[in-house]
Amino acid sequence: MTQLMNENGIRCDGRRIDQIRNVSIKVGVLKNADGSAYIEFGKNKILAGVFGPRDVHPKHMADQDSGILRCRYHMSPFSVTERKNPAPSRREIEISKVIKEALQSAVILKDFPRTVVDVFIEILQADGGSRCAALDAASVALVDAGIPMRDMVSACAAGKVADKIVLDVNDEEDKEGQADMPVAYMPNLGKITLMQLDGILTPDEYKKCLETAIGGCKQVYEIQKKALMEKYFKNGEA
């Protein structure tokens, strides 16, 4: 087993315990999608594309009173070290569902009855915490597509590594560490839309872990905001 943290509290990839990985987001990278975003979250490389609102197929899925949201999280065969079968796995189906539910409470689809908003997320390179990074990209892509939203959704994980609560666990810490807690958060409303926990934490650790994760979400939010401002308000003042 590799050493996850040295005696100075520096983690295996050189970060402090309260430091997130480098995040960069680009908005509107796909011409054919209505909205899109590309995120690099540490070594994660993720593309998100949004279509819609558009006609629902198959028709029986349509809701007469409201639009619906569909989501697909997919890992490319080359996204991990050993080739991944491109067919949707148990894990991908579950992540698609939790991402959909995390975005559902943010989007306002009441004005688009009988339509669907499709969110496609493609993991090009995975490095732990990909569901959070995927959510960050998807949320920016939804804004780019002009889907009305109550708030942005920002996501970041926290966890327990070498008996310490750390922000933004990477792949190695996820596998060898003691706990991993992905959190998605609406920063202006102060509401949590996704919270999962894999591992064991005491109630005190749990509280600290959640707080740490929310702190990470707020940092990600600023980056999301900057990326959107970059595309839409690059030149000129209001």
């Binding site: 007469q64 009988r114 804004v143 009305p148 939203m149 202006n188 839409y232």
Partner: protein, 235 residues
């Protein structure tokens, strides 16, 4: 007349203001905070708050002039692609009159697949797809012209304050520009140079819609003298 307009760049979730205001498009209230739901420019005027969106799809509104493409027909109506998440319906009675009979009249003879039509939204609500009509002056099949597609959210900018932008373009190029609220625009002009200029101007508005002094820059691109009063263009 000169009310104070406060403008700000916002993204979804941004708090625009607090307090009692009338809510208009793309905003919602959470407690006493008024929050944006879209990326765009927020405006506070005459006790109302709204956000002019910079992205998004066309949502039909009753009485909007739109340009649609025929995608097919049944025996009673045509269906139109109106660049929206909904399909536009034009009933056959609207074209043939009250005594329309499916056995006698041939829909294809009037409008066929791929035809472009200028129409007005006669009725639209949440429960049904938008109903169109071509029973008005200047509506009906578009015979010629160049089709341009721009973001529907930028149409107000293309028209400008009291039509100043579109008048500038039409006067400078002698082109006729038909603007559909759904983001489809047909430009026709006798003079090919004027046509190209007009298309370029429309595309320029699309690309730079959110920047100030756009009318001035369009004018200089079209070679209209700067500082010219809008009133003289109107004559």
């Amino acid at each position: 007349m000169m009310e104070i307009v406060k403008r700000k760049y916002v993204i979804p979730g941004d708090v625009i203001t607090t307090g009692p205001y009338r809510l208009e498009q793309n905003v919602y209230q959470d407690g006493d905070r008024i929050i944006s739901t879209s990326i765009g420019i927020s405006e506070i005027y005459e006790n109302a708050v709204r956000v002019i969106p910079l992205s998004g799809m066309y949502i039909p509104k009753t009485n909007d002039l739109i340009i649609g493409k025929v995608i097919g027909h049944s025996s009673l109506s045509w269906e139109f692609d109106i660049n929206s998440c909904f399909i536009g319906f034009l009933p056959a009675q609207d074209v043939f009159g009250r005594d329309y009979s499916p056995t006698k009249d041939e829909l294809k003879a009037r409008l066929d697949k791929g035809d472009l039509v200028a129409a007005r939204v006669a009725n639209f609500d949440r429960s049904r797809d938008p109903l169109l009509t071509i029973q008005d002056r200047d509506l009906g099949k578009i015979e010629s012209g160049e089709l341009i597609k721009i973001a529907p959210s930028k149409i107000p900018r293309l028209i400008g304050k009291r039509g100043s932008m579109i008048q500038t373009i039409e006067m400078a190029t002698k082109a006729i520009v038909t603007i559909g609220q759904n983001g489809l625009i047909v430009v026709s002009c006798e003079d090919p140079v004027g046509l190209l200029k007009a298309i370029e101007a429309v595309k320029m508005v699309d690309a730079q819609a959110h920047t100030p002094n756009l009318t001035e820059r369009v004018k200089s691109m079209l070679g209209v003298e700067l500082g010219e009063n809008n009133d003289t263009i109107n004559e």
